[in-house]
């Protein structure tokens, strides 16, 4: 008896060429999918969710597109994963990394067809990637010392990032906004402290950065709407019923009058707590949890502004801007640090009332209010702005900057080509292929803009044979332009991450010669 199968039912196995084919096809399909969103003239995609409501997202952010896809191909999953990591690590270049990995695999496929062993291709790719990184390192500009130029660098990077997004109409405005916000962080990369509030209505141009802090909450009834020189206590404590936390405690009484007594005691307890809070000498109290009517009334009587149910992020940010500490006990008023701000007032954006804390001490956090025509526009604007903020915050730490518009790819391609000429053996084919894959990126940018890519890339190549050339693709005028004059810059960290993770992913997929898919786990149908 021959052995029919050693796997469980439904499990499948793909071997050798077939496996390689399956992963190449899968990876290229993914790369082709997001390819059209690359560059300033890239197009958007509409994604419809399968969940309830069939929600629609319009985006051209690679990571967002790929995250929402349901993919069965194993190689494609690797690409989705690198795009996600790119998003987490540097925030931008999520499309480029997938496109580059896809192009590397497309070139590898040709080489495999020409009977070059995948391991040879991998070692060629490795050499090429290392060489390309060196090429970039030599060309970086670091303006960290000069605050003025550094700021303009940041603005340029923000503008370049935003130019491929929905915000490109107002990119000057948003670039300034993003740079201002990031400069406030003072080198921290924690973007949590930049709050983005989306309010439909108005136009994108009406978006603004508030140097104070805006809390999307309402002020309690009968409490002052405007406080100057506020002392703020930020708290995380139960202000509804302060339960006894000792395990197993319960109230057991035998008459109604005792119930009333206990209730009175509870009220008394709350009153004491409120008294203690008031004795901190505050005039504003912000709590993470609910505040019930009774304490709220007490606060109102004392002329204190009480804000309830500010979520975790809200109070953490508030603590950051005002410099207060988040308190949960109130027995030692002298040691609790209070937050301060010049003015608390209620403001109207659109038709919602918000509370604004301005004139804050620390100012490490800030709020960006986005306005726009519809929720979809706002969502996409938020994603774009998030990309820009991520890139900027990373650039603040690693201030090396490169030009954009296909310039880094040309530089790398040139160096890699030289290396290919010097390398003996079959590897040189792989190295050459790497440089072709790099060239694909400016080609796609040009193609997406409806330009004659073959012509432009050839011109660029010629330009780059001169020393110290700053030529890149100027999509607006449709010709080769000087990137320094046009002010198109990109962060070195983003480019490096794109290069390294794309090569890593391509290598990983190339090494595979067999795909074993287990039977999908049977899920119970809960219909």
């Amino acid at each position: 008896m021959a052995i029919e199968r050693i796997f469980k039912d439904e499990a499948s196995e793909e071997k050798g060429e077939r496996a390689r084919m399956a992963s190449f096809v899968g990876a290229m399909a993914i790369a082709d999918l997001v390819k059209t969103t690359l560059g300033p003239k890239g197009m958007d995609k509409i994604l419809q969710s399968t969940g309830r409501g069939r929600e629609v997202t319009v985006t051209n952010d690679g990571a967002t597109i790929l995250k929402s896809l349901h993919i069965d191909n194993a190689a494609a999953k690797v690409l989705v994963d690198i795009s996600k990591v790119q998003d987490d690590e540097v925030g931008d270049g999520t499309t480029s990394v997938v496109v580059l990995a896809g192009e590397l695999l497309r070139e590898a496929e040709k080489l495999v067809a020409a009977k070059i062993h995948p391991m040879t291709i991998i070692s060629g790719y490795r050499m090429a990637a290392e060489c390309a990184r060196h090429a970039l390192l030599q060309k970086v500009v670091d303006n960290k010392e000069d605050a003025e130029t550094f700021r303009s660098d940041l603005t340029k990077i923000a503008m370049t990032t935003l130019s491929s997004k929905i915000l490109c109409q107002d990119k000057d405005h948003f670039a300034k906004l993003a740079v201002d916000a990031v400069m406030r962080l003072k080198g921290s990369t924690n973007l949590e402290s930049i709050q983005i509030i989306k309010k439909p209505g108005g136009s994108l141009k009406d978006s603004f950065l508030d140097d104070g802090f805006i809390l999307d909450k309402k002020i309690g009834i009968g409490q002052p709407k405007r406080i100057e020189n506020a002392n703020i206590l930020v708290a995380n404590t139960a202000m509804d019923t302060d339960k006894v936390k000792i395990y197993g405690a319960r109230v057991r009484v035998d008459s109604m009058s005792k119930v009333a007594e206990i209730e009175g005691a509870e009220k008394e307890k709350m009153r004491e707590k409120v008294q203690k809070i008031i004795s901190h000498g505050i005039n504003c109290f912000v709590n993470r949890q609910l505040i019930y009517n009774f304490p709220e009334e007490l606060f109102a009587d004392a002329g204190i502004l009480a804000i309830e149910h500010a979520d975790f992020d809200g109070i953490e940010r508030l603590a950051l801007v005002t410099g207060g500490e988040i308190a949960s006990t109130f027995d030692n008023p002298e040691t609790v640090k209070l937050g301060h701000c010049k003015l608390i007032e209620e403001i109207m954006i659109g038709e919602d009332k918000l509370i604004r804390f301005s004139g804050v001490q620390m100012g490490e956090a800030c709020t960006i209010v986005l306005r726009g025509a519809s929720h979809h526009v706002l969502d996409e604007a938020e994603r774009s702005l998030h990309d820009a903020l991520c890139v900027l915050s990373q650039t603040v730490n690693d201030s090396r900057v490169l030009f954009g518009g296909g310039w880094p790819e040309m530089i790398m391609a040139k160096e890699v080509d030289e290396l290919a000429r010097k390398t003996p053996g079959k590897k040189s084919h792989a190295i050459e292929a790497f440089s072709r894959a790099l060239l694909a990126i400016p080609t796609i940018i040009a193609d997406n803009a409806g330009l004659d890519s073959a012509e432009l890339v050839a011109q660029l190549r010629a330009e780059h044979h001169k020393e110290g050339c700053n030529a890149g693709i100027d999509v607006i005028s449709g010709s080769v332009g000087d990137m320094a004059e046009l002010g198109i810059s990109e962060a070195f960290k983003v480019k490096q991450a794109v290069l390294l993770s794309a090569t890593e992913a391509a290598e990983m997929i190339l090494r595979v010669d067999e795909i074993i898919t287990c039977a999908p786990r049977q899920r119970e149908n809960r219909m």
């Binding site: 990369t189 595979v512 287990c518």
Partner: protein, 535 residues
């Protein structure tokens, strides 16, 4: 199937519902088993050696794993056949025992089965084959001992260890920076090794991974890295000369294990219980403070009030730290794990030179580094890489390297790799075969042929002509009487493995041969397979 009848002509029931069961007997059963075993080893064959390819595995939940570690491939393969399962077990036991060579052992078993099939076709009884294999494996193991070499290393001279780890890593995807990783692995093992007793407790090496960055950023931290952050956002992010209280009791009101109820029936009781509660939190924090702690690491959660009190008293704290990590922290800092606040005393505190929080990328992820510990016997290898699969594969590779380094510390004998040991054994077994009387002689010769399979697979994966290369190397070994000639996989120009610095551990190789022989013997002894039919 044959039936037995009693004197009234009724059939005896030997197997219940016999018709519905598929049953294989005799030589058919053996053939079927052998072909199943071979099928498994065929899958792994292409993963062997520095030019071996990876496998991509998709789990039932759709997660993708890319690996060329034999044990991992087999474990995730979801195998249904019983014999195939035996092979999976085989690879796993090699993994537990040695940690490396999990692919080789399966390939070895596969080729032993292949040889057995030929012998069975000639009409040799399976038990005789098994016995022959047993004799041969003993010869091979003894021969390995003879050609093995001891080398000296010490805390200053780690080069030989690094070289051996590099051999292990060179077949993995991480071979781009095998030198760095090998050094990290060796340093980690030496940091926790007890050189006197020649023992290494691998549990003391924690391997953490986080996506992002590049493989070259992987680092060895002489201390502990915990994937947690401070319980209160405003606690200090950096503590120098920390005195750490390691607690396994929550900062929460007490919860006795016996069932109880506290009845409140008067206002006074309500008041007292309230005060008690407040005092309770106060006491807890005060006790930590009294003991002189400057950092609290707790296995459980904190109540909001307690959290603020800790913050207020300037006592940074970390909550929800896992049990294993807690133990490691205790070992590293020389502290004691304290289960009750009452038992907290200054001498039970752990000490660390520096505790700091580090954030990564654009997300909120933070990790806590505890460094410069009093007793740096616990270390962490912190892996970075481009994507999740890369990290996972690096973890597995590092694990292999750690195991190899540990084995070397236990027993510093090495044999040379690149198939040279197998070829040399094969020659020795072949020579011994002729001296052996009886039918086993054929089995022993079969064993020698089977040993050739590993160098053959190596050559094949490296794109060389397998038979040509193998015969050339073999004749060279005999001619020069040099057991260190192997397959030149990396195209380095020489096939003397001493010059290429390709080492493997002696016990790893011996285990491979012994384990593979054992499993093959077991498979050969099966002559009847009964399995319930599908229903």
């Amino acid at each position: 199937m044959a039936l037995a009848f009693d004197e009234f002509g009724r059939p005896f029931l030997i197997l219940k519902e016999q018709e519905q069961k598929s049953r294989l007997r005799g030589i058919d059963a053996q053939k079927a088993n052998i072909s199943a075993g071979k099928a498994v080893s065929r899958i792994l064959r292409t993963s062997l050696g520095p030019k071996g390819m990876d496998k991509m595995l998709q789990s039932p939940d759709g997660d993708v794993t890319v690996t060329n570690d034999g044990a991992t491939i087999l474990e995730q393969m979801d195998v249904d056949n019983q014999i195939a399962k035996l092979m999976v077990e085989l690879s796993r036991s090699q993994d537990y025992e040695i940690g490396d060579g999990t692919t080789g052992v399966v390939v070895m078993a596969g080729s032993l089965l292949e040889q057995a099939e030929k012998l069975l076709e000639r009409g040799i009884h399976p038990i005789r084959v098994a016995e022959g294999y047993e004799v041969a494996s003993r010869i091979a193991v003894e021969h390995l001992e003879r050609i093995s070499q001891k080398f000296e290393f010490g805390p200053e001279n780690i080069e030989p260890l690094v070289q051996t780890c590099m051999t292990t890593l060179s077949s993995k995807i991480v071979n781009r920076c095998k030198r760095d990783l090998a050094e990290i692995a060796v340093k980690a093992v030496l940091a926790v090794a007890d050189l006197e007793r020649r023992d290494v407790h691998l549990d003391l090496i924690k391997v953490e991974g986080k996506v992002g960055g590049k493989l070259e950023d992987t680092e060895l931290v002489y201390g502990i890295v915990v994937d947690k952050d401070m319980s209160h956002p405003q606690m200090p992010k950096r503590i120098e000369d920390a005195k750490i209280a390691i607690l396994t009791c929550p900062f929460e009101p007490p919860k006795p294990k016996t069932k109880h109820k506290v009845d409140i029936d008067t206002v006074e009781k309500f008041q007292t219980i309230r005060l008690q509660e407040q005092k309770y939190f106060d006491d807890m924090v005060q006790k930590c403070k009294d003991a002189g702690a400057t950092l609290v690491i707790c296995q459980w959660g904190f109540d909001d009030e307690a959290n603020h009190l800790l913050m207020n008293r300037n006592l940074p704290a970390v909550r929800w730290v896992g049990g294993v990590e807690l133990e490691l922290i205790a070992i590293a800092t020389g502290g004691r794990i304290v289960p009750r606040f009452q038992e907290l005393t200054p001498e039970k505190l752990g000490k660390a030179g520096l505790v700091r929080e580090k954030s990564f990328g654009t997300t909120k992820d933070r990790m806590l580094y505890i460094e410069q510990c009093a007793n740096s016997r616990a270390v962490t290898i912190f892996i970075r890489g481009g994507n999740k699969m890369m990290i996972e594969e690096t973890k597995r590779s590092i694990h292999d390297a750690l195991c190899v380094a540990r084995n070397l510390i236990r027993n510093n004998s090495i044999v040379y790799g690149g198939g040279s040991a197998e070829i040399s054994c094969s020659i020795a077994v072949e020579a011994a075969a002729d001296r052996h009387p009886g039918v086993e002689q054929y089995a022993i010769r079969g064993f020698a042929d089977a040993l050739d399979a590993i160098p053959m697979a190596l050559a094949e994966n490296s794109g060389l002509q397998p038979i040509e290369t193998l015969s050339a190397v073999k004749s060279q070994q005999i001619k020069e009487n040099n057991p260190f000639c192997g397959i030149d996989c990396n195209d380095a120009g020489t096939n003397d493995m001493r010059e290429q610095d390709v080492f493997e551990t002696l016990i790893g190789k011996q285990q491979q041969i012994l384990l593979a022989t054992q499993v093959v013997k077991m498979i050969l002894k099966i002559d009847d397979v009964i399995c319930p039919s599908d229903f």
